[in-house]
């Protein structure tokens, strides 16, 4: 069995060496080759991680209760697609999406509503920043008590978690337009509404998308953790807490894989929309060429 361990270690060192060589390749002006290497290096690193995991777990005969090898997790995913899909539907499609849309929407609307009141802004902004640092997840048991076991209570937790980052970022974003630009709109005789849609909203877009990205991961965490406090017999958080009780660790890892995939896809989707909407922003422009 130690042969396997040695083979794994050799593979690790070989891949490490390969990566060290790859990043030193001089691609010159060849943009395609440069891009390929930039993608290849983290890919090789990821593969190495998985091989290392599989090899070490098998070679040292780590108990599957402690840490199952990736192959066992994959097998479990393939074998329990219907359960995983039902959980995904309950947690992600119902609770996360509903809560995310409502929480972000409410944060945006409140920011818009207090835009004309600097007094309220000065009062709400520090409080919003403060609340963002609090362990909001703790309201989960209260929400479960108020809104019942089904997805509505999880959506409520997500709403509260996503509201404050959105509020704070949007208010900051609305303040991002230059004095000079606002004065220009003024000389055009633009109304508040015109200034908002034509100048200040686009200027706030990078801030708003920042909040949307932060919230995309927060929302998933909120929904899953809220399910620990009571849930119908379906859902990712429910499955994790039940299967861990039965020591079916591979099923837990399967749920985690689904959650990671969903979280990454959600984040990626928001990032893609951001690129399309804020194509003029320096951070997007420089990434293109």
């Amino acid at each position: 069995m130690n042969l396997l361990l040695i083979a794994t270690l050799i593979f690790w060192i070989a891949m490490w060496w390969l990566n060290q060589r790859l990043v030193r390749v001089d691609t010159g002006t060849n943009a395609v080759a440069k891009r390929a290497i930039d993608l290849l290096v983290p890919f090789i690193f990821g593969i190495t991680l998985f091989v290392l995991w599989e090899g070490v777990v098998r070679a040292l005969e780590v108990s599957p209760v402690l840490l199952p090898p990736p192959s066992a997790i994959w097998e479990r995913i393939i074998n329990s697609v219907p359960i995983l899909w039902a959980d995904f539907q309950q947690t992600f499609l119902k609770a996360v999406i509903a809560g995310y849309v409502m929480g972000c929407g409410a944060g945006f609307l409140v920011a818009l509503a207090i835009d004309r009141s600097p007094f309220l802004q000065r009062g709400l902004l520090p409080l919003g920043n403060f609340v963002s640092a609090l362990p909001i997840i703790g309201i989960a048991p209260i929400m479960v008590m108020w809104f019942g076991f089904d997805w509505q209570s999880k959506a409520a937790v997500v709403i509260v978690m996503t509201f404050f980052p959105m509020l704070v970022n949007t208010v900051q974003g609305f303040a991002a337009a230059d004095r000079m630009q606002i004065d220009l709109m003024r000389t055009y005789g633009a109304s508040w509404w015109q200034t908002m849609t034509k100048l200040r909203l686009p200027a706030a877009a990078p801030f708003i998308f920042n909040a949307l990205k932060i919230n995309s991961t927060l929302a998933l965490i909120g929904a899953i953790v809220a399910e620990f406090f009571g849930t119908p017999t379906v859902g990712m958080g429910f499955r994790i807490s039940v299967e861990i009780g039965r020591m079916n660790v591979d099923m837990v890892w399967a749920e985690i894989a689904v959650a990671a995939l969903a979280g990454s896809a959600f984040y990626g989707a928001v990032a893609l929309i951001e690129r399309a909407v804020t194509f003029w922003h320096p951070s997007v422009r420089s990434a293109r060429n």
Partner: protein, 297 residues
């Protein structure tokens, strides 16, 4: 704190806080009223509005406890305990807060050291930069808080229990902001400054010690503030599956099992106060370091 230092912020904040407390009282009456109507109906009596308001403030298990009920509960489980000379009894919130705090601090410490080490590696090694950084970012799209119970239970199964498992969750959560902030900070010296060190033929170590490390301090402390807040969240969630023994998370869970809403709210407020104090302490450290470095705090 920053709450009071900046001119003209105090009044608006006061106004908003007052409004929140007022809304809270109104909501408490509104949410707790059905229970009172029920009771009155069962007793075959009608209930006057003033009596109703009074009753909704004093329920044993209200849907939403009034602020003063929560405050009284917090006092009962902290200050009153101290007065009786038993600040660390198991019914005292100080005891539970201490359990959570110790896990938070241990996790925060490990996470910060790990994060700084990773950042140093990333800045000084091109291969690490290209291969590790994308995975560090990916690692955070995994809802780690969701795995927290599993880490606790599994580590318990192999005989590791108590402080360390909770601290590990805090570590995982807190290392990320530190890595990202420190990488940015260690790269913040300008080209000209690095060139100057080059002309002095400074070694990598000297450049690191005299240029990169000092200039990364503002970034480090900004990240540490985020990290300490998130460490606390990790420790609280880590306490949920341990069978509700001790800690603020355990109080939340026990409260939700037995419908003790006042207990939940008081644990929540203590957690919030703890978070505020921790962030404030990091802020004080930040100002002290900046002052010693001769920069305006």
């Amino acid at each position: 704190m920053t709450l009071f230092s900046e001119e003209g912020k105090f009044l608006p904040i006061l106004a908003v806080v007052t409004a929140i407390v007022a809304i809270w009282y109104a909501a408490a009456v509104w949410l707790n009223a059905p229970q009172e109507y029920d009771r009155a109906q069962r007793a075959g009596a009608t209930i006057a509005f003033s009596q109703l308001v009074q009753n909704t403030m004093t329920q044993e298990r209200p849907v939403l406890p009034a602020p003063h009920q929560v405050a009284a509960e917090i006092w009962k489980t902290t200050g009153a305990m101290v007065q009786r000379g038993r600040p660390f009894s198991k019914r005292s919130l100080i005891y539970h807060a201490w359990i959570t705090l110790s896990a938070t601090l241990l996790g925060f410490l490990i996470g910060s050291v790990l994060g700084i080490a990773l950042a140093v590696g990333i800045v000084h090694n091109l291969a690490m930069d290209k291969s590790v950084m994308p995975w560090v970012i990916t690692s955070q799209t995994i809802p780690i808080l969701a795995i927290a119970p599993m880490i606790i239970v599994v580590l318990n199964a192999v005989g590791i229990s108590g402080l360390l498992p909770k601290a590990l969750i805090s570590t995982y959560l807190s290392f990320f902001p530190v890595v990202v902030g420190m990488v940015k900070g260690l790269r913040s010296p300008e080209r000209a400054q690095l060139d100057l060190f080059h002309t002095y033929s400074a070694s990598r170590w000297q450049t690191f010690r005299m240029l990169r490390w000092p200039s990364s301090m503002p970034y480090l402390f900004t990240s540490l503030k985020v990290a300490v807040a998130i460490s606390l969240v990790g420790a609280i969630v880590g306490e949920l599956p341990t069978g509700a023994v001790a800690g603020l998370g355990a109080r939340l869970l026990a409260g939700s099992y037995y419908g003790q809403t006042i207990q939940i709210w008081s644990a929540l407020f203590v957690a919030a106060a703890l978070a505020a104090v921790l962030v404030m302490l990091v802020d004080v450290g930040h100002k002290m370091v900046l002052r010693r470095m001769g920069q305006a705090a």
